[in-house]
Amino acid sequence: MPKTKAVDLVVVGAGPAGMAAAVAAAEAGVEKIILLERQAELGGILPQCIHNGFGLRYFKEELTGPEYAHRFVQELKKHPGLKVKTETMVVTITPDRKVVTTSATEGLVCYQAGAVILAMGCRERPRGAINIPGTRPAGIYTAGSLQYLMNIEGFLPGRSAVILGSGDIGLIMARRLTLEGVRVKAVLELMPYSNGLNRNIVQCLEDFQIPLYLSHTVTEIFGEKRVEKVRVAPVDKDFKPIAEKGFDLSCDTLVLSVGLIPENELSLQIGVELDPATGGPVVDSFYQTTVEGIFACGNVALVHDLVDDVSTESALAGRAAAAYLKGEIKTKRWLPVKAGRNIRSIVPQRIVVGQTTPLYIRARYPERNATLHVGDGQTKQQVVSPGETIYYTLKPEDIRTADGWVEVSLEGGRVHD
C-alpha cells in the first residue's frame, strides 16, 4: 500500500451528489473531508448541461447545469476542512475503507477513512449492450459523450443525425444539435412511450418539429468509414423488428441514448450488495450500503430524473455519514421493501424502523388513476409513467403493522392503450 493519510470522510465523485454530501457532512461538523473527482472540473455531468431546467425543486428557481453546479462549488469553499482533489482517480476501495487514488500531481495516495460516500454517478450504455447489426464506422456517439464534445470542447460532430432513445439526454441533444445546424432526422424509441420528461418532449422535439417514432429501433448501421445511413423498423409487442416495414434514414451521425447504468465497479470491489432493479447498491434510510461505514447516493444508487432529487438525497447521506462518525447510527433494525404490482424499483431498499424515509419509486408500465400503497399508507397517482419518479415519504406509522417487509404496489389503475 502507498503512504496512508487518515481522514474522517472520503467522498468519491464531485458531481451534484458528492458535492451535496460533502457540504452537508461539513455542515454537520465533520472535520477532515476529502472530495475526489477524476475530471478537471467540479460538477460531474452538470458543466456540460448548458440548458436550463435545473433547480426548480431544490432552489425554487430555474438554473442551467453550470449555474446549479456553481452554487455548490461556492458552498464547498466555505469549509476549510473540506479538501477537493480534481483529476484524481480512485482505483481501489477496501471494505475497511482504505481509498487508493492516483493523480498526475500526487501519484498514488491512500486515505484511511472513517466513512466513505460513493457518489460516482452513472455511465451510458454503449452500442454493444444493445447489439445493433451492421458496420462499425466513425460517427456513432453516446448522447452524453457527444454533449461533452459539443458543450465543453466546442465541436460539431456532423451534418445530419438520427437519435436512438428518447430518454432526457437524447431529447436534449436533439434540440442542441438542431440549434447548431445539424439536421436531426428522427428520434427513435423502442418502447411505446418515451422515457423522458414530458416537458422535454414538448420543448426539445415538438417545438422543432423533430419526429419521434415510438416502438421503432435501428436494425442496421451502414457505412464503411463514416456512418452513411441507418435502417429503421417498427417493433412488435415483443420488441421484435418488423423487417418488411423497415425504411432507411441517411445520416452521418448516430446518437445513442439507450440508458444509463450506475457506475459500480468500485462498489463491486468493496463487496456491497447491488440491487438488480436499480443496478446500484442496496441502501437503507441513511443511505448506508450493506457494508458498514460505506454510504452511496445520487445516480450511483439510482438513476434520478432530476438533479434536485440527487442533491436532497445526498445531503441526507452526508448528514447520516456525519452521524455515523459520531457513533450515532447504531439502530440496525430495518425492513426490506418489496416491489408489488407495477413497481420496478424502490430506493432506499431497507427502511430503518422509526425513521421517516423519502422513497423514490419507479413503475414498470404506464397507467392512470392508480393508488400507490406503501405498507399501510396510500396516495392517489393520476398518471403513472415509467419515465417519471413517484415520490412518497414513508412515515413510521406506515409500517406499524408491517411484518417482515414493506410492500410497495400500484393498485386499481387503468393501463393506457
Binding site: V91, L108, L156
Partner: protein, 490 residues
C-alpha cells in the same frame, strides 16, 4: 528524394508480415515492411478469435498442421521476450452425444499424428470437474493442454516494434500498386513512391492475389470467408477457463466459447463466404452464434454483451496455406491463403519463409546486437509499489484517461510513439475505450491527446484513417470566437 533500396520488402503488416520482418531482423539485412492501412494489424489480424491452436484439427501432412504445431510451440518463449498478452490456457473439444465420442477419438488420433503433445480424452465427470459451467448435456471431451489464447493485434504490435528497434523499416499508408522485375530484383511502385527490392514477400492477406497478379502471377486465387464474433463483459471471467470447441464441421472448427487473455468471454466465429468483403455483423450471425454457444455454456446472457465485430479469412483454393516462391521468380515468395490457424502458425511461417529466401539466394548473416526483448508499460499490471515509482518518474502515468481499464495519459502518449495515429490505434494498443463503456468517457480525452502528440487539429483525428474523421469542425460560436481573436491580433 532517393528511392529506398532494400534486401527484402515485405508487403502487408498483418501477423504474417510482422512475424517475418521480426524473424528477418535477426540478420544483417536492409528490411522494409509496407502496409496500405494507417496502422499495422488493421486487416484480418485485428479481428479474429485470438486462439493459439494446438494443431489437433489440421489434416496430417499439410503445411497448416506442420506450422500450427510448431507455431504453438514457439508462443511461450516469444511471449516472454515480447511481452504481448498471451496465456496457455488449454483447449477442450467436447462431444454432445455418444456418436460424437467416437469422433473425438478420431480427432485425438489426428492430433497425435500431427505431433500435438499431451492430448487426453475426458469422460463426462472429468470434463465437469475441469469446466463446471459447461452444459450438463455434454458427454466427454478431448483436452489439448498446449493450446493458448493471445491478443492478436498486441502480438502484431510487439513483433513490428521489436523488428523496428532491431533496424527494420516500417511504412504505413503505403500501398503497393505495381511490381516490375529488373536486374537483381524488383522495382515496386507505391502511392508513396518507388522502392527497389532484391526479394519480395507477398504477405498481403486478402490482397494476396492482387499483389501476386502485379508480378503477372495468376496462381493465387482467394475469396473472403467472414466470421462474426461477440464479446461479453469481464464480469463473466472464469465462466470457462479453456477454449471450448464443439466437434469441427467441414469448413470450420465450429462456434467456440473463448476466454480472452483480458478476462472477457468471446463467442464465435461464423464461417460465411462473402462476395463483397465488408466487416458488418448481422442478426442472423448473432442468432447462429448465440444459439450454438448456449449449447456449450447455457448461462450466457445477451445483457452481458459489450461489442461485436467481424473478420475476413483469406481462403485459397488448395485447402492449405500457399507458401512458396512464385513460379515466375524465386525471389518473390507468396504467403497466401493464410486462413485459420494463420495467427498460430505465423511465427513458424516466418521461420519457413526465411528458409525459402535462403534457398532462393538471400545471404543471411546473424546480427551481433539483435535484441529479442520488447517492453511496454501497462499500469494496471503493476503493483502499487511499481506504479508509484513510475508516477514519480513521469507524472503522466498518474493521470488516468480510461477509467474502465485504468489506462494513463502516459500510456496513451507511449502508444502514439509506438505508432498509433488513430483512435482505433490507441484503443488496440492500450485497451482504452475497448471494453465496458466503449469509449464513452475517454474518447474526448484521447482525441485531445492524439491531437497534441501528432500536432494535428482535432478535426483531423480519425477512427481508423482518412474518411473516418470523428468531428466535422468547430461549433459556430467557437468559430466566431476564433475570428474575433484573429481580428484582435491583426
Amino acid at each position: 528524394m532517393s528511392i529506398p533500396e532494400v534486401d527484402v520488402l515485405v508487403i502487408g503488416a498483418g501477423v504474417v508480415g510482422a512475424a517475418l520482418i521480426r524473424e528477418l531482423s535477426r540478420y544483417e539485412l536492409d528490411l522494409l515492411l509496407v502496409e496500405k492501412e494507417v496502422d499495422v494489424s488493421f486487416g484480418t489480424s485485428k479481428a479474429n478469435s485470438g486462439i493459439v491452436h494446438s494443431g489437433v484439427h489440421d489434416r496430417p501432412g499439410t503445411l497448416k498442421a506442420q506450422l500450427a504445431v510448431r507455431g504453438c510451440q514457439l508462443f511461450p518463449e516469444l511471449a516472454a521476450q515480447l511481452g504481448f498478452l498471451y496465456k496457455q490456457n488449454g483447449a477442450v473439444v467436447v462431444a454432445r452425444s455418444r456418436e460424437e465420442l467416437a469422433e473425438l477419438e478420431k480427432l485425438a488420433v489426428n492430433g497425435r499424428a500431427n505431433g500435438v503433445k499431451g492430448l487426453s480424452l475426458l469422460n463426462q465427470e472429468e470434463l465437469r470437474r475441469l469446466e463446471p459451467n459447461l452444459s450438463p448435456e455434454l458427454v466427454g471431451g478431448l483436452l489439448a493442454p498446449s493450446g493458448g489464447i493471445v491478443v492478436p493485434f498486441d502480438l502484431v504490435f510487439a513483433l513490428t516494434e521489436n523488428a523496428v528497434s532491431n533496424g527494420a523499416k516500417l511504412m504505413v499508408n503505403t500501398e503497393v500498386q505495381a511490381i516490375n522485375p529488373e536486374q537483381g530484383g524488383f522495382f515496386v511502385r507505391t502511392n508513396q513512391g518507388g522502392i527497389r527490392a532484391k526479394f519480395i514477400v507477398n504477405a498481403a492477406g486478402l490482397g494476396g492475389s492482387e499483389v501476386a497478379a502485379m508480378l503477372g502471377d495468376d496462381s493465387i486465387q482467394l475469396y473472403a470467408r467472414k466470421g462474426e464474433e461477440y464479446l461479453f463483459d469481464r464480469k463473466l471471467e472464469g465462466l470457462v477457463h479453456r477454449t471450448v470447441f464443439p466437434l469441427p464441421s467441414q469448413v470450420s472448427k465450429g462456434i467456440l466459447v473463448i476466454p480472452t487473455v483480458e478476462g472477457n468471454i468471446m463467442i464465435g466465429p461464423t464461417a460465411q463466404r462473402v462476395e463483397t468483403p465488408d466487416l458488418s455483423t448481422s442478426l442472423a450471425g448473432w442468432q447462429e452464434i448465440y444459439g450454438e454457444a448456449r449449447r456449450l455454456v447455457p448461462t450466457l446472457q445477451p445483457n452481458d454483451l459489450i461489442t461485436a465485430f467481424s473478420g475476413l479469412r483469406a481462403v485459397g483454393t488448395t485447402g492449405d496455406f500457399m507458401i512458396a516462391p512464385s513460379t515466375l521468380s524465386p525471389r518473390f515468395i507468396n504467403a497466401a491463403g493464410i486462413e485459420s490457424p494463420g495467427l498460430t502458425a505465423a511465427p513458424a511461417i516466418a521461420e519457413y519463409i526465411v528458409e525459402l529466401l535462403k534457398e532462393s539466394g538471400l545471404g543471411l548473416r546473424r546480427k551481433q546486437n539483435f535484441n529479442p526483448i520488447r517492453s511496454v508499460v501497462r499500469l494496471r499490471d503493476l503493483d502499487f509499489q511499481a506504479q508509484a515509482e513510475l508516477m514519480q518518474k513521469d507524472a503522466a502515468y498518474g493521470q488516468i484517461v480510461c477509467r474502465c481499464e485504468m489506462v494513463s495519459a502516459g500510456e496513451i502518449r507511449d502508444a502514439v510513439r509506438r505508432g498509433a495515429t488513430t483512435l482505433d490505434g490507441i484503443k488496440l494498443r492500450t485497451r482504452s475505450g475497448m471494453v465496458r463503456c466503449q469509449g464513452g468517457f475517454c474518447t474526448p480525452k484521447i482525441i485531445r491527446l492524439l491531437s497534441e502528440e501528432l500536432g494535428l487539429p482535432p478535426e483531423q483525428i480519425s477512427k481508423n484513417g482518412p474518411g473516418s474523421e470523428l468531428l466535422l469542425g468547430r461549433l459556430r460560436a467557437v468559430q466566431e470566437e476564433g475570428r474575433k481573436e484573429e481580428q484582435l491580433h491583426a
